[in-house]
Amino acid sequence: MSKIGVFVCHCGENISRTVDCARVAKASGQIRGVAVAKDYKYMCSDPGQALIKNAIKEHKLDGVVVSACSPHMHEKTFRKAVTEAGLNQFLCEMANIREHCSWVHEKEEPTTRKAIELVRLMVEKVKRNMALEPIRVDVTKRALVIGGGVAGIQAALDIADGGHEVILVEKDPSVGGHMAQLSETFPTLDCSQCILTPKMVDVGSHPNIKLYTYSEVEKIEGFVGNFKVTIKKKARSVDIDKCTGCGECQLKCPSKKIPSEFDRGLKNRTAIYIPFPQAVPARPVIDREHCIYFTKGKCKACQKVCPTEAVDFEQTDEYVEEEVGGIVVATGFDLYTTDKQGPYPDYKGYGEYGYGEDPDIIDGLQFERLASASGPTGGAIQRPSDGKEPKSVVFLQCIGSRHPSKGIEFCSKICCMYTAKHTMLYKHKVHHGTAYVFYMDIRAPGKGYDEFVRRAIEEDGAVYLRGRVSRIYRSGDHLIVKGADTLSGAAVEIEADMVVLATAVMPQPGIEGLFQKLGISYDQYKFASEAHPKLRPVECATAGIFLAGACQGPKDIPESVAQASAAASKALILFSRDQMLREPVVAKVNENTCIACWYCVEICPFTAISKKDIRDRQGNLIKRVAEVNPSLCTGCGTCAATCFSNSIDLDGFTDEQIYSEINSLMAVGQDLFPEPEKAEGDSPDEKAA
């Protein structure tokens, strides 16, 4: 026979105002298996907790129901209290008679009756609770950071400075990401490279950071604290240990007309190339698609000229395995392109704007390269078609963004600011020129942001026109931009020398493949989803995986850096203990009855269930059954509700517990059915047993 204690709280008057607490206690005392039932004004106070603790000792209770507020409020408090009295914390449950009863109902008979029934329900559950112990999981104190943009760099440096090893994987030949491409940054107009390159150098030389550039994550196995990662080091065709980065090979390479990714096609590069002068590592890579040796079988000019014999045409992809405990995903963004063959086939472009057809229609990142001192023009604003200085430039905002008919509803967040910056950079270099901006709304919330936009308008004279552009077409030397100014109601036609499109911020094309390998969820646009939009913004629902930067949604540099540091601190919290404790609400398999239908394996959202072989001593396979990995299981119970043979149950929410809760509620004292049924319904204990 169970010995349950029921403790009914008045919560001052919060409960007792509408519920007769003394009656609830008295009625609870009559429930079979209840050894003691008491009511008290404030159960969560010190004397209230002492009352519970004393009762546990005095009556040798094996279960406690605290009938008070929501378990979300005080479950921890009472579980701690019962632990102090020597009872397992999972033998304590709360009946929610405040939020679910006294606060939402009037003072009347059914309200008190409901409170009694809620207590009874919990008593029936607690009778079947089992003493559980938190699950302990070992933690490998190393981190994997995926993506070497500013977010990945920041996260890697923070974790490394915290004293733990970091594996930083970057798919491109150099770290730096998009920030390395920028000219100057808003709202301070400090030079992007000047603030980023020192961090890139730190990442390359930090004793705790192992840098894999030109590499990709191939496979991920395991779970929080114990991930096993396979990294594919793509064949660089250059031995980076022998190479000194002198750059002779680039000078001699005869294949010179490949559009540079770093300069976004505004400049050409060679087939063997260092992406940009400040690259880390400053070592070249051979682009095998364009290399004459790899395409035609002869050339090897670079190999001949290399003073250290670092060029290695025989190099192949290499796979390395690393063990890590936590993962920071910082894969960043790319820009939606408006031409027909963009990287996002699911989205419609803006054919009427002529991007990709007219060289003088460029996107925001291309303008960054034009304005950058390290760019193709050395920082002079020259239009791509003929190198002339544009006398007027039209900037169009919200290209793709906030445009449901193009498939994108979100605001890209950074374009208002960078367009304002572009107009300033342009005006600072072309004093007599005019910058026009077509905008929908100016969104500049942020420290010093709105002031910055005002400066662009008021001091640098950018002409802001609220409205959309219908068409852009070439007329002789000029581009004609036809649009509407919705504030004056006039149709506008501008003769422009260059047009800059602020295209939407999108996740890296194809990034969902990586997210699927990681087992993390993503939204309709393929941005990674956080565990909670407000309270857990840097964690994934999958434990041990954290998000940083624009892979989660459009972000500017300060936000990306802040989130990266937050993700790093989450990883450091994970690494601060040798073992983690987890709630023991996990699924368990009854191997005797499992019929190996594998529905649970398929349905588990956390891939926590696998197939296990049961063998005899000779090693012969006897049967195969499902096996739950308690470190991965989060306790949702979907498997338990799916199992065909009732072989999986969820600790803390077992079938037995739930059925006894249902039994306890029903057909008591009410003439629902004719006599025989009523008699049957009146003994829930026996029924459940």
């Binding site: 009656r23 008295k26 009625a27 009559q30 429930i31 079979r32 209840v34 929501s70 378990p71 929610n96 939020e99 679910h100 009863c101 606060w103 939402v104 109902h105 009037e106 008979e109 059914p110 309200t111 009756r113 409901k114 009694i116 029934e117 809620l118 009874r120 329900l121 969820s521 939204d523 629902a541 609400v585 959202p605 956390f606 989060t634 306790g635 949702c636 119970g637 979907t638 338990a640 509700a641 799916t642 929410f653 059925y659 809760e661 249902i662 039994n663 306890s664 509620l665 029903m666 057909a667 008591v668 004292g669 009410q670 629902l672 059915f673 049924e677 319904g681 009146d682 003994s683 026996e686």
Partner: protein, 161 residues
């Protein structure tokens, strides 16, 4: 209130001192811990009011909901069953609510074939911020059940079967 608690305990095994004098609707709500339970908590902290005939059984996720729970509840005299969890896409466990929906859709078709009155089974998405929606749902559901009265048809259905 009875003067002899001992005999009463034996009588109904539950220590309910008083039974309702007339019929009252009995609604069982299976709600997930993360969204709807918290939403119902919010209704409480906001002091919204709804009829006191709903009994909540907390499950971690609607994915844990086994349609047999519903059958059991009806068997034990419930007049209505509500299942409620996180909105699609908001599941704390990423996909539990999708599984619940799928299971419910299939099971619903089966029960309809058997002649079950499906107006007595409600399925809803109520997030942690939708205290008002919880209250509206319970009010409306209670009204519907009150109008329909005790679920005698279920008993008849079982007896015939």
């Amino acid at each position: 209130m009875s003067e002899s608690p001992q005999s009463e305990t034996q009588k109904d095994g539950a220590g309910l001192p008083e039974a309702a004098t007339s019929w009252e609707p009995r609604i069982v709500a299976f709600i997930c811990n993360w969204c709807t339970y918290t939403g119902a908590d919010l209704a409480g902290t906001s002091r919204m009011k709804y009829p006191p005939y709903v009994r909540v059984i907390k499950i971690p996720c609607t994915g844990r909901f086994d349609p047999l729970f519903m059958i059991k509840a009806f068997e034990r005299g419930a007049d209505g069953v509500l299942v409620s969890g996180c909105h699609p896409g908001d599941c704390h466990y990423t996909a539990g609510n999708y599984n619940a929906r799928r299971k419910y859709t299939v099971f619903k078709a089966l029960l309809e074939t058997l002649g079950m009155d499906m107006d007595r089974v409600w399925f809803s998405w109520i997030s942690a911020s939708e205290g008002g929606k919880w209250v509206d749902t319970i009010r409306k559901f209670t009204e519907v059940i009150q109008e329909k009265g005790p679920f005698r048809e279920y008993r008849e259905m079982i007896d015939v079967g």
